[in-house]
Subunit: 249 residues, 2 copies
């Protein structure tokens, strides 16, 4: 992939605990911000249960329609950790002991502690590329354009640094925010005109409530800084005409 190309990704959160509401997912935000910073736009997120055929079907769909797929969850030692096995089946490749991962965990644990439960974590799709884990030893892995990360947010975060050189992004997606002391309905028509005049720029409008007062943040996103500046100027023009206060936020 060369630069000046749009590169996209899908995020697949695997875990009953998110679907039940027991656990608040934060990995989507972590991954999305990191991917944006390296020029990859998240086009879809799905949360699915720990059910093998659903994981297989969803991975096989997403890996065809996205440049990259990032999965989180299901790579630990317990019975509900079925991501590695499911990815093997999705790609139709063997699920086996990964020798490099075995060596890493054998060295990571004290003698005698690399027990049967922990050994489950070295079972992976044949020839998977490891994603090193500086926090708790057990590596993630990737097969083709699918990257499998753990569900624990602090561990996932610690693994992104080592992954950066393996993701080829496009131009970084730039973002500029203008926060206004107004309500959406006051600026809706003017903002629509700016959007219509700049169809290739993503303009979002988000109400907020801060220090007892309502406001609206307008977010302009594009790979092209000059397009952002153009939209920004058009917005500031109507903001001035309407005598709306610009606020820090």
């Amino acid at each position: 992939m060369t630069k000046n190309k749009k590169v996209n990704a899908a995020i697949l959160i695997i875990g009953n605990e998110i679907l039940s509401g027991r656990t608040q997912d934060t990995n989507t935000t972590t991954l999305a911000l990191w991917l944006n910073s390296i020029g990859v736009k998240v086009q879809e997120v799905r949360v699915i249960p720990d059910i093998e055929n659903i994981i297989i079907e969803t991975v096989n769909h997403l890996r065809k329609v996205s440049d990259y797929v990032f999965t989180t969850g299901g790579i630990g030692p317990t019975h509900d950790d079925i991501t590695a096995q499911s990815i093997s089946k999705a790609f139709g490749i063997k699920y086996e002991i990964h020798k490099e991962a075995y060596k890493i965990l054998e060295a990571y644990y004290k003698p005698g502690e690399f027990n049967e439960g922990r050994q489950k974590m070295v079972w992976m799709p044949e020839n998977a590329n490891l994603i090193l884990n500086p926090t708790s030893g057990a590596p993630g892995f990737n097969v083709e354009n699918v990257f499998c990360l753990p569900g624990v947010p602090s561990i996932l975060k610690s693994m992104l640094g080592g992954l950066k050189n393996r993701i080829v992004g496009g131009d970084p997606i730039l973002s500029h925010t203008i926060s206004l002391r107004t309500v959406e309905s006051e600026i809706a028509n003017s903002l629509t005109k700016v959007q219509d005049d700049n169809v290739d720029v993503e303009i979002g409008s988000y109400p907020f409530f801060q220090a007892g007062k309502l406001g609206v943040s307008i977010v302009i996103r594009s790979e092209d800084q000059s397009r952002i500046i153009k939209c920004n100027n058009q917005i500031l023009k109507f903001v001035k005409e309407k005598n709306i206060e610009v606020v820090d936020r």
Copy 2:
């Protein structure tokens, strides 16, 4: 739908701000916990951008495979709020001024304040059923099994109470958690046996870190309390044998 039936739902989060990582979604957790409490299990969550054809396709898929679909976001007054229009197209019905919603907002705003921007919020699919909004006036709506709610978490929460009688759930999904001072690999094999012996019960294992110590929460979920008790007893049996401490959490 009668009781003793499993009832499921899909959640569809509509919004570029979630995909970009700018905004942390919390509506999934709110909806999932509330749906569980009325006997509806969330089987899938998707996050998609503010793009009409993607909204239409996704809604038309999810409403066929799920008993209920809950959408969040995109029902405000600005150009990026395209949920109502997209739902109309998904169902192939007219997108028009909803007279009841018009009356509600006309009464809600002070004279002269019900401007063109705000009037956009009363455009809905023909004959949609309103979902009242005690926080900020503008109603959500539902068409058949699709329920459209706003993206602002506090407003969404305030609208769920009025929705309860319109959702027919199955038996409530019961949940029991056992927290242990151990690591997953110590209990993985024993827990697999309990799961194999209780295939219709959902047993999850989740590591945690609290007050400087590692632990594992085991979550048992079923509509049948007696099945939960059976699993609980089997788990406490191996926990005792292994001399593992049970902790409050």
